[in-house]
Subunit: 336 residues, 2 copies
Amino acid sequence: MIIALDAAGGDYAPHEVVKGAIKGAQEYGVEIALVGRKDILYVLAGRYLGKLGISIVDASQVVDSHGSPIEAVRNKPDSSISVGINLVKTGVASAFISAGNTGAVFYSSLVTLGKIKGIDRPAIASIINIHTATPVLLIDSGANADCRPEHLVQFAQLGTTYAKAIFGIDSPRIGLLNNGEEEGKGNRLTKASYRLLKKTGLNFIGNIEGHDISRERCDVVVTDGFTGNIVLKTVEGLGETFLKLRQVGQILSNAYQIQGRALLIDVGLGSLIKRIDYRQYGGACLLGVNGNVIISHGRSQATAIKNAIGLAKRTAEQHVSQKIQEETYEPVAPVE
Amino acid sequence: MIIALDAAGGDYAPHEVVKGAIKGAQEYGVEIALVGRKDILYVLAGRYLGKLGISIVDASQVVDSHGSPIEAVRNKPDSSISVGINLVKTGVASAFISAGNTGAVFYSSLVTLGKIKGIDRPAIASIINIHTATPVLLIDSGANADCRPEHLVQFAQLGTTYAKAIFGIDSPRIGLLNNGEEEGKGNRLTKASYRLLKKTGLNFIGNIEGHDISRERCDVVVTDGFTGNIVLKTVEGLGETFLKLRQVGQILSNAYQIQGRALLIDVGLGSLIKRIDYRQYGGACLLGVNGNVIISHGRSQATAIKNAIGLAKRTAEQHVSQKIQEETYEPVAPVE
C-alpha cells in the first residue's frame, strides 16, 4: 500500500513531515510517497530511498496555509496538494495526507476526485477521544459552514459508514448536537434535521448536548461544519491548557523531588491529556469524495504525521471511500 | 440589599437551595428572600428567620424543569419564578436567582420586567474561567438559538457593559467566535456580524476560534445562543470528566500512600478543575431586561447557589440593569 504525503504542507513542513513519514513507514509497514520539491526532499530523505518504502514525487509549487483555496488550486497545478491528490485519482496511492491549507485540500479533492454520487456535501469526520473508553466521530468538523437539514442527514449516513469501518461497530449510535435534549429543542437547522433523521433507518438516538460529547452517549456526533469546528477547537484548546499545566506540575514536582507523580498522571489525567490531544489520531477523514483523503492539523509534528499515516492505512484497508460509493443511502427530501 | 431566590427551582431544590442561601447570606452579608411553598420553607429555614436576613415569600406553584416555558408562565401565576421576578419588578429585591426552568425564567423576565429599550434580544452572559488569569464572558450562552447579525452586535454591546461592571475592565476586548481567524471566514451569520462589528466603536479585536477561549485573547466572546450553549456545555462536560479522573487519581494515590499528590493538584490541575467548574460562579446573568436576573445551573447545589448569590450581589451593586438602560448604544442597521 502506498500512501501519498504532502511534504510541503503544515507549519513544520518539510522536516517534521519527513520525520513522521519515516516513523510511520516503520511502524505501519506502508510505503510513503513524499510529495514536494524533490531537491529539498532528496536532502532530507535521500538516504531512506529504496529502504523503508520511502519514495519522492516532485511537486514544484507550494500552497500558502492561509491563501484562497480556490485560487491556489487553479493557479498552482503543480502544488504538492494537487500532485498528491492526483496520485489517489490515478490509483497510484491508496490515500493522501496533508497538513496544509485545509480549504485547498478540500477544494482540490472536490475538483479532482469528485463527489460520490448521492453526496451533496463531502464532510470532515474527526475522531475525538476524551473519555477512557471508545472515541466519538464528529462530523462535519469544518468543511461546510452553512448547512441545510438534508446535509446533516448525509453527514449521519457518512458517519455511520465510517464508524462501522474504523471503530468496528455494527450499528453506530447517531446523536444530533443540539442546545437541549428534548425533541423540539434547537435552532431552525437542528429542529428540521431532527425530523428528517427520525425518518431514516439510522440508529438515531436523538439530541445530545455539549457535555454528552465526553459521556459516551453516542458514536457519531452530527453537526454543521461551523459548530463542529468550534467544538473541536474548544476541546483542543482545553487539551493544550492541560498539557501546559501538566508541565508546570512536573517542573514543580521535579524541583521538590516528589514521588508518585507518574502514577497519578498515567492512570488518570495523563491518559485524558493524551486522548484530547489532536496528535493522537493525527488527522481527520474527508468523507464523500472518490478517494481516501486525510486532513491533518496545520501544527502537526512528526508524531501527529506518523499517527495520520496509521489512520490513512486503516481508512484505505477498510476501503472507506469505496464503501461509501457502494452504500445505497436513502434519499433525503430537501426541507423548505 | 435583598436578593430573591427561587427555592423551588433546580434538581436539588429546596434543600440545597436553602443551604446555599444560608451560606450566601453569611458570606456576602445580604438579605435573602426565599421564594417557594411557605410550609416547606418554614420547616427548612424557620430557625434562621429574623437572623442572617433570611425571609420567606410564599409561592404556591412550581414550574417543571422541562415543561413549556410559555405555558408555565401563563398557567402558573403564583410560581416561585413569577413571584420572584415580581419582587424585582416592584423594587423589593435587587436581583432574582433561579436554578429552575431556564426558558421560564427567560420568558417570565421578558413578560414581567420587559426588554430594555433598544435591545431586541436579551441574552445570557456566562462567565468562563478556564485559564489561570482573567475569566471571559460568553454571550449569548443560550437564550437565542437563531440570531441575526444585528443581534450579535447587541450581544457585544451588552457584554461590554457587563464586563466593565463585573470584571472592572475599561475597554473589554470583543472577539467574534468563528471557524477561522481571518476576516471573511465564517458562516453567513458571522460574516455579516463581522462587518457590522467593525463599524461600531466597540473594542472589536476580530474573529476568535474555539481554542482562543482558553487563551485569554479577549474578554467577551460573542456568539449566537445555539453555539454558545454547546460551547459552554462542552467545557462543562470536560470539567466533569476531569473531576472524575481526579477522584480516580486520589483514590489510587491514597491506596498507595503516595506523597506529593496535593502539590500537583493544587498548583496545576486542581486550580484548572475549579475554574472550569460551573459551580465557581454559580450562575449567568440575563442581560437586556429591566432588572437583575441570575440563571443558575439546574444541577446547582449549595456551593453553586452561594456563589450565585455573590454574583447577584455584585451585579446589583454595580447597577448592571440600570447601566444598560442608561447606555446609549449605537443603533445597528439590520442586514438583509
